[in-house]
Subunit: 395 residues, 2 copies
C-alpha cells in the first residue's frame, strides 16, 4: 500500500462533515483502497463484474455432501439462464456475471456468458493424494488471471469472486488448515447443510487429506512442514504434485517478484511447502482460478471483493504467493462456515456483511459491493467542515 | 403479519435453487416483509425515500456533547446542499432525501427538499421536567405521519428514517431506559464522541431525567410505573405533560385501534405511563416525528428501514403505541451506541449492517436498502429446483 495515499486518505476522512471515525469500518475500507490504488480518493469501484468459477471435486466420492455432483453443471445452466441467487444479486448491484468452467466434470455447450477454460474434468480425490498436478494448478491460476484481465479490459472497476463446485467446502477446509495451521475440526463446517454423521466424515477426510499430502501437524501460524511429518500417498509412499517451486510463468508486474519462493512464516522443521504445492495437494480448480483472479485483479490495481469460504481459502493461497494482494482485497462477507472466519483472521480482513449466508456463487461478495461503493463515494462527494461552513468541534 | 403470506413465503424460499436457509438472515427479512404486506412475494421495496427529521434539544445546555447546538442547523444546510454523508449514501442507493424541520432552534429559509413542520424551537430540558407538551408530541407525531404519506404518494415504496439533532443520543438513552427498563449506564453511549467526563455527566443527566419525570425504577421488561416512584419536577413537585391518554387524533386504519390505551407488559405498581407521555417526558421532537413516520409507513403498508439509536428509540415508542408496526420495520444497522442493541433486542429486530457506524442522518438505514431489495428480489427472480431442472437433495 502507498503510504502517502494512506495518509492523505486518513486526513481527508477527518476533514469531512461527520464526527471522526463515525463511519466505522467503512472509513478503513476507503483508506485501504486509497493505499492500494496509490491515490486518494481512490477510484469509485464500479461497475463490478462477478466471475463464477465452476469445477468438480474428486473428493465428492467420499460422501462429504448430500448433493449429487451433477448439481454443479445444473447450477452452471441456472447461472447462464439468469435464474440463480447470484443473478438476482448481480442485477441488484448492476454487476455483470461471467461463468468460467475451469473444471466441471462434463462438457458444457457454448453459451453467452460462459467462458470455457477447462483444465480437467474435476480434481482427483485429495484424500488419497494431490488433487491436481502442478500443471493443472498453474493452468487454473492463469485462467483466473486471464478472466480478471478480460473483465477489466471490458470496463470492470471492481471484481467479485464467485464459485460453484459441489464438495468445495471440503477442499476449502483443507486449504485453510494448511495455510493457517488450524485443526480440521475447527474449520470444517456443514457447507450447504450436512448432518452430524456427514460432518464427522468430512472432518476425517480433511485430516486424511492433510496427512496424505504431508500437510498435517503444522502449528498454528506456521507453514506446513515437509519431511518431519512425512508425505505419503494411499500406499504409504510419498506422493508429489511435481515441481511447483519454479513459480508462476505469467507477467504480474510488481507481484511477480514474490511469487516463486514465498512461504508464510518460518518452517519449524523440514522444508516449507510452497503455496502452489499446497493448492495442488488439497485445493480445487476453482480455488486455483480464484487465487489467479485475485492476483490478476490486484496486479491490475482493481479492488477484489471476496465472497465466502471458498474465496477465503483461495485468497490465502494468493496471499501466500504475493502478500501485497491483500491490500486490494475486501472481505465481502463472513459466511456461516467456521473456516471462513479463520481465513479472514489470517488475512487480517474484516467482513462487511455478516448475515449467516452459506450459498457461495459470489452472493456475499455482491451484497458488499454497494457498501464498498458507499465507502469510497463519501471521499468523492462529502463536503468538508470548511466548505460546508459546519463548526468542527475538534478544530 | 398475515399468516398465509408468511407460510407461502417460507414455502417459496424452500423451493428456490439454493440450499434451504442458505441466505440466512435475508430469508427471514423477505418472509417478514411478505407477512407485513400480506402477499408473497412482497413488493420490491424500491424506490426508497429518506426523511431526515431535524430538531434541537433543551438538554444540550447540560453539556452532554462537545458539539455546539448550531451544528444542527448547519448540517441541515449541508443536507440541502447535498454535501453530507447521507446524501452520498442516498445517491448510492437511489433514494430521495427530504429534510423535515420539526424543531430546529432557528428559522430556516425555504429550500427545495426542506419540509418545514416546526413544532417548537427545540425541546425543554428533559432533566428538569417534560421535554415536550402533549400537544407538541402529537403535532410532531402527525408531522411524521404526514411525511410518510407524502413520500408514499410520490412513489416511495420503502421509507428510511433519518435524524439530525445535536444532543439527541441523550434523549434516545432516556427513552430506551423508559421503554426497556435498562439502566442508564448500560444504554448511554458516547454518541458522536464524548470523553469519559462528559459520558459520566450524560449518564447522570439521563438518570435525573427519568427520576424527575417519574420514569425511574422500572424493572427490566416492565413499563414505567407512576406514583410509587413519584414524578417530580425540579422543584420537587409532580409535573405533567398533560393528558395524552386520549390517543392520536389521526386516522391510522388498523393501527388506530390500539393507540390510546396501549402500554407494554403489566405495571408492577401504580399507574403505567402511556407511551406518548414517555415520549413527551424524555423524547425529542425528531423522536416523536420518527415514531409517526414509522406508524405512517406501517399504516400505508410500506417497509420502514430504521437507522440508528435515535430511530431505535423512536420505534420503541411506535411499537408501544401499536405493536403491529414492528412487522413493517427492518433494522437497517446496529450502531456503536450501546442503547441501540437494547432497543433492537426489545423490538425483536436483527440488524442487517454492523459496521460500527455512529453518524445518524439515516446513513445506516440507507446502507441496508440494497440488502433488503436483494432479499426481496430473490423471491421474484430466482428459479425453483423444478423450473431450473436442478436436483434437490431434499426432494
Amino acid at each position: 500500500a502507498d503510504p502517502a495515499a494512506l495518509a492523505a486518505a486518513r486526513a481527508h476522512q477527518d476533514s469531512l462533515t461527520k464526527p471522526r471515525g463515525a463511519l466505522g469500518v467503512l472509513e478503513e475500507v476507503a483508506v485501504r483502497l486509497a493505499g492500494a490504488a496509490a491515490v486518494s480518493p481512490p477510484p469509485l469501484p464500479t461497475p463490478a463484474a462477478l466471475a463464477i468459477f465452476a469445477a468438480d471435486h474428486g473428493v465428492h466420492a467420499r460422501g462429504v455432501t448430500p448433493w449429487p455432483q451433477e448439481v454443479t453443471v445444473q447450477m452452471v445452466g441456472n447461472f447462464l439462464a439468469g435464474g440463480a441467487v447470484a443473478n438476482a444479486f448481480a442485477a441488484q448491484v448492476g454487476a455483470s456475471v461471467t461463468v468460467v468452467d475451469v473444471g466441471v466434470a462434463a462438457d458444457l455447450p457454448p453459451a453467452p456468458g460462459l467462458t470455457v477454460s477447462k483444465v480437467a474434468y474435476g480434481t482427483a480425490d485429495l484424500s488419497v493424494g494431490p488433487a491436481m498436478t502442478a500443471e493443472q494448478v498453474v493452468a487454473a491460476l492463469e485462467a483466473g488471471i486471464a478472466v480478471a484481465r478480460e473483465l477489466v479490459d471490458q470496463g470492470a472497476r471492481c471484481l467479485v469472486t464467485g464459485d460453484m463446485g459441489i464438495a468445495n467446502t471440503t477442499a476449502s477446509a483443507a486449504l485453510i488448515c494448511a495455510f493457517t495451521g488450524k485443526d480440521a475440526a475447527a474449520v470444517t463446517g456443514r457447507g450447504t447443510g450436512v448432518d452430524d454423521e456427514t460432518l464427522a466424515r468430512k472432518i476425517e477426510v480433511v485430516r486424511q487429506a492433510l496427512r496424505v499430502n504431508g500437510l498435517a501437524g503444522r502449528r498454528e501460524g506456521l507453514p506446513a512442514t515437509g519431511p518431519a511429518n512425512g508425505r505419503e500417498g494411499a500406499d504409504g509412499q510419498p506422493v508429489s504434485a511435481g515441481d511447483l517451486s519454479g513459480g508462476l510463468p505469467v507477467g504480474m508486474g510488481d507481484l511477480s517478484g514474490g511469487l516463486p519462493e514465498r512461504v508464510e512464516g518460518t518452517p519449524e522443521d523440514g522444508r516449507a511447502v510452497p503455496p502452489l504445492e499446497v493448492l495442488a495437494a488439497v485445493g480445487g480448480l476453482e480455488h486455483a482460478a480464484i487465487a489467479g483472479f485475485v492476483l490478476g485483479g490486484a496486479a491490475l490495481g482493481v479492488p477484489v471483493i471476496l465472497d465466502g469460504v471458498i474465496a477465503g481459502a483461495a485468497a490465502l493461497a494468493a496471499a501466500a504467493l504475493a502478500p501485497a494482494v491483500v491490500d486490494h482485497c475486501v472481505a465481502g462477507h463472513r459466511s456461516a462456515e467456521p473456516g471462513h472466519a479463520a481465513a479472514l483472521d489470517h488475512l487480517g480482513l474484516r467482513p462487511l456483511v455478516e448475515l449467516e449466508l452459506r450459498l457461495g456463487e459470489g452472493t456475499g461478495g455482491l451484497l458488499a459491493h454497494p457498501l464498498v461503493c458507499a465507502a469510497v463515494r463519501v471521499m468523492h462527494e462529502v463536503a468538508t467542515f470548511d466548505s460546508a461552513g459546519v463548526t468542527d468541534k475538534e478544530a
